[in-house]
C-alpha cells in the first residue's frame, strides 16, 4: 500500500516562534486519519503547508507521491480542502458556490450541475441552496464547504476541525458522507481535539504536540490498552495532579 500523504521534516516559524518543528506525517492511502493535538500544537499550520496554502520554511510534503510545491497541478487536482476559519465566497448562494468551484476546475457545466444537485441533496441543503452563504449557520457552512471540497472527486480530503460548532444532526450527515468516501478507497485526514469522535471514526491517528508528531500509527497501536483520551493526555503531558491546590472557594455552597 502506498502512502496518501508523506512529509519530511516539515518546518515553519512565525517570527521567533516555531509553529511546526520538523513534522514527519505519514497517512496510508484509504485510511480515515485523525490529526489530534492540543490548541497551538501546529495542526492547522501543518495541514495548510501540505495543501499548498502556506509556504513551509523547510522540509517537503508529498500527496499520492507528487511533490506539493514542485508539482502543484497534479497535487491540486487530487486534493480537496476544508480549512478552518477561512471564508467561503459569501455572496454566492450555496448552489452558485458549488457551480463556481466545479467550473473553475474545468468540469463541464452540466456535469457540475448534476453533482452539485446530488451533493446538496445528501448534505440536506436543498432547501437552502439558493440562499446566500453569508446567511448560513456554522453547520451549513461546514456542509457546503465539504460539498465544495468533494465536488471534483479528490483522492485525499483535508479537513481542519470539520466538526467544530456543528450540531449533532449535521455532524451525523458529515460523518456518513465521509465514511462512504473512505469506503471507496479514498483518504480523509481531519484535525480535531474531540477524542471520542476520533476514536469512533478513525483507523489511523497522528498525535501532535508543540510542533512535533509524538505518536503515529493505527488507532489500536496508539491507544494500546487505554482509552484514546487517556493515551492522548499521557502523550502530551496533560494530566497534572488532581488540581486540589487553590480554588478552595469554588463550590461548596452553604445551604
Amino acid at each position: 500500500m502506498t502512502d496518501a500523504v508523506r512529509t519530511h521534516g516539515l518546518f515553519k516559524r512565525y517570527g521567533g516562534q516555531v509553529a511546526v518543528a520538523g513534522v514527519d506525517l505519514v497517512v496510508p492511502a484509504g485510511s480515515f486519519a485523525g490529526l489530534v493535538g492540543p490548541n497551538g500544537a501546529g495542526k492547522t499550520t501543518t495541514l495548510s503547508m501540505i495543501t499548498g496554502l502556506l509556504r513551509p520554511d523547510g522540509g517537503s510534503a508529498e500527496v499520492d507521491g507528487f511533490h506539493v510545491w514542485r508539482d502543484p497541478v497534479e497535487v491540486k487536482a487530487r486534493i480537496g480542502v476544508l480549512p478552518e476559519g477561512l471564508r467561503l465566497f459569501e455572496r454566492l448562494s450555496g448552489r452558485e458556490l458549488l457551480l463556481y468551484n466545479g467550473r473553475l476546475r474545468g468540469i463541464p457545466k452540466a456535469e457540475v450541475e448534476q453533482r452539485a444537485g446530488e451533493l446538496l441533496d445528501v448534505m440536506d441543503l436543498t432547501a437552502a441552496a439558493d440562499k446566500l452563504v453569508v446567511d448560513y449557520s456554522t453547520g451549513m457552512r461546514k456542509k457546503i464547504g465539504l460539498a465544495a471540497a468533494l465536488l471534483h472527486n479528490p483522492s485525499v480530503l483535508f479537513l481542519d476541525e470539520p466538526f467544530e460548532g456543528v450540531d449533532p444532526v449535521s455532524a451525523n450527515t458529515l460523518t456518513d458522507v465521509l465514511r462512504r468516501f473512505t469506503g471507496s478507497g479514498s483518504t480523509v485526514i481531519f484535525s480535531s481535539h474531540v477524542m471520542d469522535l476520533v476514536e469512533r471514526l478513525c483507523d489511523w491517528v497522528s498525535v501532535m504536540s508543540a510542533g512535533h508528531i509524538v505518536a503515529q500509527g493505527t488507532l489500536a497501536d496508539v491507544r494500546g490498552e487505554r482509552s484514546l483520551n487517556q493515551a492522548f493526555l499521557d502523550l502530551v503531558g496533560g494530566s497534572r495532579g488532581d488540581g486540589e491546590a487553590g480554588l478552595t472557594w469554588l463550590g461548596g455552597r452553604k445551604q
Partner: protein, 522 residues
C-alpha cells in the same frame, strides 16, 4: 460617582489595551491625539474670533456650527460602529447593572475620549466668541454643557436604537451603502457654492433663522441673548436633553433583552440569471465572469466603489463644464472618459482584496500560472462588461453637455484605452502590493489595521503606472493629434494582456504570500 469613575477607567483601559504592542497603532493614536488637540485649539480660536464679527453674523454662524456638530455626532459613530467596545450595550448585558447605572456608565464612557474632549473645548470657544455681558456668560456655561450633552445623548440614542440592526448582516450592508450618501451630502455645499450665492450673509441668516428653533439653535441663542429669553431657551433645551436621555435609557433596556438577531432573520433567495454566461464558452473563464458580476451586484463594497467612481465623474463634469458654455474645459469628453476609466480601473488595483479570506478556494484550485491568468481575465471581462458601455455614455453625455460633439468618438476611444491600461497596471499591483480590505466598510479606513501604508503605496503605484503608460497616447492627443485615439483601445488591450501575463507570472509564484496578505483580520 463610583460608576462614573469605573466606566471612565474601563474606557481608558480599553483604549490603552488597543495600543499595546503595536507600534503602528501607537503612532496612529499619537497622530490622532495631535490632530484632535490641534483641531480643538484651532476650533476654540476660530470660535472666539467671532467676537470680532458683527453680533448678528456671529450668532448665525454659531447656530449653524452647533447644528453641524450635532449632525456629525449623529452620523460619525454609526459609520465607525464597532471601533469602540464600550459603545455596544450587549457586551455589558450579563453584568448585574441597573439600567440607570448603566446609562450613567455608558454616558461616561462615551465622553471619555479624545474627540469628545476636543468637542467640548471647541464648544466653549463659542462662549468666548458669543457671550454678551455677565448674563451671557452665566447662561453660557450651562448652555455649552447642555449642547455637549445633547450631542452625546443623541448619538448614544441612535447607536443604541440601531445596535440590533447594526449587528445583522442586512443592517451593515445597508449602512455600507449609506456611507456613500454621506459623501454625497458632503459634496452638496460645494455644488451649491459653484452655482454662486448672491449674498452670502443673507443666505447665512436665512439658514440660521430656520435653525434658531432647533435645540442647538436654542443653545446658541441662549449664549448670545443672556436674558430671560435665553433662560427660556435653556429650559427647553434641558427638557429636550432629559427626554432624549429618557428615550435612550428605554432603548438601552430594550436592547439588553432583545436577542442578538445577527444569525436569525430571513435570508434572501437569489437565483442568478447568468446572461453573460450564455455568450461565453463553458469553462473557468465563464465561471469567474459570472461570479464577479454577481459580486459586483451583491457585495456592498463593490457597489460603493462603482457608485463613487460614477459619482466623482459626475461631480467633475459639473464643476468643469457647468459654468455656462464659454469656459468649459477643452476636450471635456476625452478628459472625463479617461478619468472615469481610471477611477473604475483603480478598483482592480487590489483585485484579490475583496475576495479576502475566501481567496483560498481559488488557491487550492489553481495548479498553474495559466489558471491565475484566466482568473484575472475573467475579472477584467466582468469589469469591462459594465465599464465599456458606461464610459461610452459618459463620453456621449459630456460631449453633448459641453457642446463638443466632435470629441465624443475620441472620448469613447480614449476612455476604453485608459480602462485597458488601468486594468493591466492594476493586475500587477494586485499581486505585488496586495492588502486586506476591512470586512465592514467604514468611511475612515481603506485597509486592515497596519496595512494602511501598503494600501497607499498600491494606489499611488497604480496611479503612477497608469499615468506613465497612458502618456504615449495622451501626449499626442493633448498636442492636437486627435486621430491617435484610434489606436487607444488596441494599446489598452495590449497593456491589459501584458499586465495580466506579468501579474500571473509573479502572482502564481507567491500565491501563499498573496493569500496571507489579503486574509489579515481587521
Amino acid at each position: 460617582m463610583s460608576t462614573v469613575l469605573l466606566f471612565a477607567q474601563l474606557k481608558i483601559r480599553l483604549l490603552a489595551g488597543n495600543l499595546r504592542g503595536d507600534l503602528q497603532r501607537k503612532l496612529g493614536f499619537i497622530f490622532t491625539l495631535l490632530i484632535a488637540a490641534g483641531l480643538a485649539v484651532l476650533g476654540f480660536f476660530l470660535m472666539s474670533l467671532l467676537r470680532l464679527a458683527p453680533a448678528d453674523i456671529a450668532a448665525s454662524l454659531v447656530t449653524v456650527a452647533f447644528t453641524l456638530f450635532l449632525v456629525s455626532w449623529m452620523i460619525v459613530p454609526l459609520m465607525a460602529f464597532g471601533l469602540d467596545d464600550t459603545l455596544d450595550p450587549a457586551r455589558l448585558s450579563l453584568f448585574p447593572l441597573r439600567t440607570r447605572r448603566m446609562a450613567v456608565g455608558m454616558f461616561t464612557a462615551s465622553v471619555t475620549g479624545v474627540w469628545p474632549v476636543a468637542m467640548l473645548v471647541v464648544t466653549f470657544g463659542a462662549l468666548v466668541g458669543l457671550a454678551g455681558g455677565v448674563g451671557g456668560f452665566l447662561l453660557g456655561i450651562p448652555a455649552v454643557l447642555l449642547q455637549f450633552a445633547l450631542c452625546v445623548v443623541t448619538s448614544r440614542l441612535i447607536t443604541t436604537a440601531l445596535s440590533g440592526a447594526l449587528r445583522s448582516r442586512r443592517g451593515r450592508d445597508l449602512l455600507a451603502v449609506a456611507v456613500l450618501l454621506v459623501v454625497v451630502l458632503a459634496q452638496l455645499p460645494n455644488l451649491l457654492m459653484n452655482r454662486g450665492f448672491a449674498d452670502p450673509a443673507a443666505e447665512l441668516h436665512r439658514i440660521a433663522a430656520v435653525l434658531r428653533w432647533t435645540p442647538p439653535g436654542m443653545a446658541a441663542h441662549a449664549i448670545a441673548d443672556g436674558g430671560p429669553a435665553g433662560l427660556a431657551d435653556l429650559a427647553v433645551l434641558a427638557g429636550v436633553v432629559a427626554l432624549l436621555g429618557w428615550l435612550w435609557i428605554k432603548a438601552l433596556g430594550r436592547a439588553l433583552v432583545t436577542p442578538d438577531s445577527s444569525t436569525q432573520g430571513t435570508a434572501s433567495v437569489r437565483k442568478g440569471r447568468g446572461l453573460v454566461d450564455r455568450f461565453l464558452p463553458d469553462g473557468p473563464l465563464a465561471a469567474v465572469v459570472t461570479k464577479e458580476l454577481k459580486y459586483i451586484r451583491r457585495e456592498p463594497r463593490f457597489r460603493v466603489s462603482w457608485a463613487s467612481a460614477v459619482f466623482v465623474t459626475l461631480v467633475l463634469s459639473f464643476s468643469l463644464g457647468g459654468r455656462g458654455d464659454g469656459d468649459a474645459v477643452a476636450a471635456l469628453p476625452v478628459f472625463l472618459a479617461s478619468i472615469g476609466a481610471v477611477m473604475i480601473a483603480l478598483q482592480s488595483a487590489n483585485t484579490f482584496g475583496i475576495d479576502g479570506r475566501s481567496l483560498w478556494m481559488n488557491a487550492v484550485a489553481f495548479g498553474s500560472e495559466r489558471d491565475l491568468r484566466t482568473d484575472l481575465a475573467g475579472r477584467h471581462l466582468a469589469n469591462a462588461v459594465i465599464a465599456v458601455p458606461l464610459l461610452a455614455v459618459i463620453a456621449v453625455a459630456s460631449g453633448l453637455f459641453a457642446g463638443q460633439p466632435e470629441l465624443i468618438v475620441p472620448g469613447v476611444l480614449a476612455g476604453w484605452g485608459a480602462l485597458g491600461v488601468g486594468l493591466g497596471v492594476g493586475s500587477v499591483t494586485s499581486v505585488i502590493l496586495p492588502y486586506s480590505l476591512p470586512e465592514r466598510m467604514n468611511a475612515f479606513s481603506g485597509a486592515a489595521p497596519g496595512q494602511g501604508g501598503q494600501a497607499l503605496a498600491a494606489s499611488m503605484g497604480a496611479m503612477a503606472g497608469i499615468a506613465l503608460l497612458a502618456l504615449p497616447i495622451l501626449l499626442p492627443m493633448a498636442l492636437g493629434l486627435v486621430w491617435v485615439c484610434v489606436v487607444a483601445p488596441f494599446y489598452g488591450l495590449l497593456a491589459e494582456v501584458l499586465g495580466r501575463r506579468l501579474a500571473a507570472n509573479i502572482g502564481f509564484a507567491r500565491m501563499p504570500e498573496l493569500l496571507a496578505a489579503v486574509s489579515k483580520a481587521s
